[in-house]
């Protein structure tokens, strides 16, 4: 409510006129002044000015609610608190699915499945509530022109063959996915600012931006002076508008990000703050442990952006065709990892059977425990989490100690489904 005009803050007419002579028209201008300055511009005494300050503050302060009221409101409508991803283990770990009302980021190297995941989530959002969807439209802001409508229909038809049994239903679904192609930072920001009206008009229940990183990295070269600050500014502004939209309408907002190489001697930390980069045994993908001046791959857009997103999912390569999904940052979930492949019907979580053939060759695991790949791994700073990229020597990776902390925990992963 910063831009709220003072006359709506219930100040008297003459006071507003007097203030506008000093170019103070909004609540923001008023509250930024010190008490002495306010006395000067309003011509009032000290106590009067304090009363005015309270009046203006009341006009733009947020409403109070107790945590109990928030919980009641959520429990009244539990299905609207999450968008189930239909990847059961992931949903369980995230307490229901992709949370509504906050920003979720999906980071991965190219070709791992970000866009596939986004397309799959678009289909899920249009499903009726009874099937776990949000029964609403989707706004898809595409900056890389990677969205494929054919693939959308393929995923829908294959994932829910019983529901999408006719062409009509498929076409109806495609009608509720609104695609915007924006190719510059400016236009993306403008589009984000104008989303509020679209969301109300089209009854949108999911906003996807694929991808934030591509426009930002095209236009901001962080090596040039001043660009880093500008970039942070742009990202922060975008993030705060998106957070506002997510909370106001209680919808999930999904953003995708790319990867970058961080040099371990680059963002080095102070001596008393240890850098995870110094211990390269953590970076599974990097094969240069011990070399201090080599880099590792991590999420792009920097530290500040990692603060702004509430949930971060990392997709990375494991071995062809399997990939790995890491829950790297979440306020409700611990660090977890899952394996998946990309099939006709979208992403499918892999079961234990495939991966522990080497270890439990005689154990028969029943097929309905397919997606119990709920391994715990010890994650680290989400902004510096190393990500495995595709490398050419794929044969070697199969026999690596690729799975993080698999001691003992695996045998305990018979969690009740």
């Amino acid at each position: 409510m910063a831009a709220k005009k003072l006359r709506r803050a219930q100040l008297s007419q003459e006071m507003c006129e007097r203030l506008s002579r000093y170019q103070i028209t909004t609540c923001q201008d008023f509250l930024c002044l010190s008490l002495l300055e306010l006395m000067k511009v309003t011509g009032q005494s000290y106590h009067e000015v304090q009363k005015l300050l309270c009046k203006v503050s009341r006009a733009c302060a947020p409403k109070m609610q107790t945590a109990y009221e928030m919980k009641l409101r959520k429990s009244v409508n539990p299905s609207s608190a999450f968008l189930s991803t239909t990847l059961h283990s992931l949903d369980r770990v995230l307490h229901g699915g992709v949370p509504c009302g906050s920003l979720t980021e999906i980071t991965s190297p190219p070709g791992c499945g970000k866009t596939q995941f986004c397309i799959m989530l678009s289909v899920l959002a249009t499903l009726p509530v009874s099937m776990g969807g949000l029964d609403g439209a989707v706004i898809y802001i595409d900056t890389e022109s990677a969205f494929s409508a054919e693939r959308l229909i393929e995923i829908a038809a294959n994932r829910f063959p019983a529901y999408y049994d006719s062409d009509e239903k498929l076409l109806c679904m495609t009608r509720s996915i609104h695609l915007y192609r924006e190719l510059t930072c400016c236009s993306v920001l403008k589009r984000i600012m104008s989303l509020e009206e679209d969301i109300i008009l089209k009854k949108v229940k999911l906003v996807i931006i694929d991808s934030v990183a591509s426009v930002v990295r095209k236009e901001f070269d962080t090596k040039l002076q001043g660009n880093l600050a500008e970039r942070s500014n742009f990202l922060n502004r975008g993030a705060s508008v998106l957070k506002y939209l997510a909370e106001e309408f209680t919808i999930p907002v999904i953003l995708t990000n790319q990867i970058t190489t961080a040099l371990s001697s680059g963002p080095g930390l102070r001596a008393d703050l240890v850098s995870p980069a110094d211990d390269l045994s953590l970076s599974e993908g990097s094969s240069v442990s011990g070399k201090r001046d080599s880099g590792y791959v991590t999420a792009a857009l920097g530290n500040t952006w990692s603060h702004s997103v509430n949930t971060r999912l990392i997709l990375q390569y494991h071995d062809l065709p399997t990939r790995q999904l890491l829950v790297a940052k979440s306020p409700v979930a611990p660090f977890s990892t899952f394996f998946y492949t990309i099939e006709k019907s979208g992403l499918i979580l892999q079961g234990l059977l495939t991966f522990f053939k080497l270890w439990y060759s005689t154990v028969r695991i029943s097929p309905d425990r397919k997606d119990q790949t709920n391994l715990v791994w010890e994650g680290t700073n989400p902004a510096l989490q190393p990500i495995r990229v595709r490398n050419t020597a794929l044969k070697d990776t199969l026999h690596d100690a690729a799975l993080p902390s698999t001691t003992g925990e695996t045998s305990r992963n018979t969690s009740n489904l």
Binding site: C27, Q28, A61, H95, S102, G266, A383
Partner: protein, 368 residues
Amino acid sequence: MQREVGTLPLAPALRARLAAAGFQTAQELLDTGPCGLSKEIGISREEALEALQVVRQECHGDTARAAGGSGATRKCTALELLEEEQTQGFIITFCSALDNILGGGVQLTKITEICGAPGVGKTQLCMQLAVDVQIPECFGGVAGEAVFIDTEGSFMVDRVVDIAAACVQHCHLIAEAQPEEDHGKALETFSVENILSHIYCFRCRDYTELLAQVYLLPEFLAEHSKVRLVVIDGIAFPFRHDFEDLALRTRLLNGLAQQLIITANEHRAAVVLTNQMTTRIGQSQSTLVPALGESWGHAATVRLIFHWDNTQRLATLYKSPSQKESTIAYEITPHGFRDVQPPAGTASTEGTEPNPRKRPRTEEEKQQ
């Protein structure tokens, strides 16, 4: 009584007129009386009366203060302060290592700042404190309420429910182990619903709303006198974008800090702020430092920095007037903010918390 006219909290125009008319001290004004004043400087009698009432109030306040009575400035001996500090409660964090380095927990009447990298556990600690401040006195708590000002949207009610449930269970176990009279009565009112209804949440979307909320905080605290904790989660976020004028930012932040100190002192509440980290580009390398600049470092009395060491979360006490600088490790479990448990095999003495370290966390996940 000899106070100069220019220092009185009157409207500037009025002050200018008084100065032009030659008035120098407050005593002169009082001697002249409202009618004489109105004739001399050409204002109405009502305005003159108002001005004189203000002057009288100010002077009365001055004399009262000079006599050592209560007022905005407090005067006491160090002995009185020592006694006060020793009886003062701390808000425990359930991580005994952290409580130890803080000297007992988060102190009331002080501002504590928590800086850290993303995802390290700042908001988790804030939510833990919002629950812990409500622990009844017979269990070692301060039996207060909490105000949570959220600027980043990271307050998750479900998580608070988990933390509150674990806390209630912990207290029940203590009551069973060492039963005392008050325990039963206290436990009746100490439930998850009660805890949640005493956490007052405000969602501030930009710095204007944050400023407005902090201006209104004294009023709110006067109405809710049991509040002993004010958390501002994310003081950095609203100030880090859209601010070209850094001088204005510094001024606003300092003003905020001042008001929070006053609020903390007057209401005997602890103020906890969380801050982000930012990259400072140096000549040969860049370092991660707390955001909002050097001058902000002076605002908080106690500063904690949370950081990662590979997969271990560490907390460093970076600034404190009474404790020495040290680092400890901590964990975030499904029950909240806890100590790092020793590896499975050593019997836990209290038997209250299930051993969360080695067991995969997924098993502990609450079923929705």
